[in-house]
Amino acid sequence: MADIIQIVVLGLALGGVYALMGSGLSLVFGVMRIVNLAHPSLIMGGAYVAYWGFRLYGVDPLIALPVAAIILAATGVLLYKLIFEREAKSAKYSEMTVLLTFAIAMIVEGGLATAFTNTQRVTSPGYATDAFFIGSVFIPKGQLYAGMVSLALIAALALFLKYSRFGYAIRATTQNREAAELMGVNVNMVGLVSFAIGIGLAGAAGALVSFVFSFFPSKHWEWVAVLMSLVVLGGMGSILGTVVAAYVLSVLAAFVGYFFGATWSVLTFYLALFVVLLVRPQGLFGEKPEMA
């Protein structure tokens, strides 16, 4: 029984981080219909900000988190202005964004590898290797802090979307872009801000990732499929769905890791992706496709 609790606790702690990684991706897809394959590579960018902050200046990654978020959000604004804004009018927009973001991912990876080499890194503040014990269940402090910070950020995002005027505009644009425009929403501005928030969340997630996992520039490929499976299971564009999916799959993955070995735990995400697409393509909280 203690083993089961242990597995669930570890799964939930990681689930929070995955949820944060996925929610930015989901927000960007919901508002902009951009399948952002570059999202994980930008998370990597945030991880490097936190890593160098710690290595060079001894800054705690949790303190570096807002800095990483702001730097990445600014990157997001730049990408949006340079690339996505002008392509938004194209008829093949959604398809094109897959190639565009793939290219961005390659460029970010190449840039990071050139600058920082492909060495494995990990930020190691004291708590990253420490743990709490409750009875015989141990909770690694690093994962616990990362999970809690993630949850707090997601809650803040949810409150912002639910109650702020701009949040209304974002939700409206997600549900019906044309209608939002007719209600007086400047949808281009909504696109820009959502993109910046989404990429900013990637930066924040990166700061957390930097002490939870060891990382190197090309590691983002592993996360592409993991994050896509969260977004698909949750229902494309549903942030709540993505968060629920992240927790469910992380706990499942922890069980798979426990019973079949750690190597197999990632398989959980890939299998989930297949099964969801076969059985319930609209995901947990998604709309049924209109063409069905």
């Binding site: 505009a169 209608a179 939002a180 209600m183």
Partner: protein
């Protein structure tokens, strides 16, 4: 007569495609119900989309209260006082009825007044009050149309443009839609409506405009347009309809 809105010789189309409107013109007088009729593909919906800024006007001009609307975004044109309800009704399916009404007032400068205005609309349309916490996407077609039309009144606009509000509704419900339109007109809102059913549209309007192949054929008092021989030929299949 002073015109509220004047559309002159506009050319417009979708993307890089051919022009759908080839020099359409229209004058809108304050306080009246204007009905645009014409066969399929005449450019009726396109005309409304060009006026509200959803489609760029390639040439010609649109003037509202004497001021050119050229180059303005839809949200800016809305601020000036022109609302548009497209055929698809532009609702937010996963927001509640009340939230949809609030979205109607999104562009209000003074947001503190919004809740009171939403309350007013709910008083005026009891069905919306009854369904306030229901997701808009789960309502019937007629109720959705009521919501879409009532929602425009939150802004107290000068002009509301309705694109085939009766589309897909049962005949009994269609009359309700025109009743709501009357309520709107009675509050002083000028109406511009596109209607596939010319007879029905003109009977509920003061002024009629006939559009064909992207051009304005002729316009006049709704009754005169209804009786006009050219209409009988072009649109009603040459048969005189009482």
């Amino acid at each position: 007569m002073s015109e509220l809105l004047e559309v002159k010789d506009i050319v417009a189309g979708y993307g890089d495609g051919p022009a759908i409107l080839n020099g359409a013109s229209l004058t809108v007088q304050p306080g009246k119900v204007h009905c645009i009729i014409g066969p399929n593909g005449a450019g009726k919906s396109t005309l409304l989309k060009a006026i509200c800024g959803m489609l760029p006007v390639r040439s010609g001009n649109v003037r509202f209260k004497g001021e050119s609307l050229a180059g303005l975004r839809p949200d800016q044109i809305l601020q000036k006082g022109i609302c548009f309800v497209p055929q698809e009704r532009a609702l937010f399916p996963k927001m509640t009825v009340r939230e949809n009404l609030r979205m109607g007032g999104f562009s209000l400068k003074d947001q503190s007044d919004l809740e009171r205005r939403v309350d007013e609309i709910e008083e005026q349309f009891p069905i919306l009050k009854e369904r306030r916490d229901q997701h808009a996407g789960t309502m019937s077609g007629g109720q959705q149309q009521t919501l879409a039309m009532a929602r425009t009144m939150i802004l107290r606009p000068d002009i509301v443009m309705l694109d085939e509000p009766s589309l897909g509704l049962a005949p009994k419900i269609v009359q309700q839609v025109f009743d709501i339109m009357k309520v709107m007109a009675d509050t002083g809102i000028t109406i511009l409506i596109v209607e596939q059913n010319a007879l029905l549209g003109l009977r509920n309007a003061d002024w009629g405009l006939v559009l064909d192949l992207g051009r304005s054929l002729f316009e006049g008092p709704a009754n005169d347009v209804l009786e006009d021989d050219r209409i009988q030929e072009l649109y009603l299949g040459g048969k005189k309809v009482a």
